[in-house]
Symmetry: C2
Subunit: 177 residues, 2 copies
């Protein structure tokens, strides 16, 4: 219903993420994205009338996917502790060698305000976890450590070995009970 050949949108978004990751966040030009997506510049601007809308599309897609992943992980997982679910999901995300959100740097460079939806999302998530966690101290430590893991993945600083990452995750799950 959204469009007749709707995979163009997704193709463009994926291409934008690819270009941002491979060519660096500062080189995310509309021409580069159009080429990468196999779409003319006119076609790109047909789907996203401005560069800001493109970025907004990236942010919204990311948040949508994340929320959905959290939801399905929450219902599949036998462990009903939401913090543990979040830890496991995040650790899985960070396994990927290629950070799924490296385009964030492009968005920030374009306009720092693109971060506000992400910030409010995170704040809500934290509040939700706080409501269901038995111990504030454990929650703080675990949540921040996961934030650190995500940060490392984003900056792809491969400081930790795989063993160390596994040890960390199991320690966190321990702390989260």
């Amino acid at each position: 219903m959204r469009a007749q050949r709707p995979n163009s949108r997704e193709k463009i978004l994926a291409a934008a993420a690819d270009v941002a990751r491979e060519s660096g966040p500062g080189s995310l030009s509309l021409d580069a994205v159009a080429n990468r997506a196999g779409v003319s510049k006119g076609g790109l601007l047909y789907n996203f009338p401005t560069k800001a809308k493109l970025m907004q599309g990236l942010v919204e897609g990311y948040l949508r996917d994340f929320e959905q992943a959290l939801e399905t992980a929450g219902s599949n997982d036998k462990d009903k502790n939401p913090l543990a679910v979040y830890i496991r999901l995040s650790a899985e995300d960070c396994e990927e060698k290629q950070p799924s959100a490296s385009w964030i740097f492009s968005a920030i460079a374009e306009d720092p305000d693109f971060m506000t939806p992400i910030k409010t999302f995170k704040r809500q998530l934290f509040e939700r976890l706080k409501g269901e966690a038995p111990d504030l101290k454990s929650l703080l430590v675990c949540y921040l450590a996961i934030e650190g893991l995500r940060s490392m993945n984003l900056f792809d600083s491969d400081v930790l070995s795989k063993d160390e990452r596994d040890l960390l995750v199991s320690s966190l799950l321990d702390i989260a009970q």
Copy 2:
């Protein structure tokens, strides 16, 4: 010996950091920096012959300051546990409402390779801590949580209240023994 009026360099670096923080990472132009520093564009390019050199100057200054802060904190602090020293120092850094390194986004946008010195620095720091820490699990949790705190500060997502930050730090110091 480095220069006859060497405060120009520092003034320019400070101006660059200010512009990056206030105008957004994508708006860090040489003109803006020159204006902010009270220096002509020619003068700016005299001190830093290219934009890349300017970024490099920011990175080097940041690393130098950080190392020095670690050193003095290590000798002043009665607690000889290096991890505890690092935790306290980092927590102090993150108290500042204005992240001291928001220019990092500008550097990444310019060229992701500007991160490599910072990455190797962090890796070395982590290795050093690992050498002196009694328990790997505690180190991992503490180090990552601090990394998370730094990340939050950088993205200035004010998710934690001051009380929560304090509670986190004391918990980490507990874990670090």
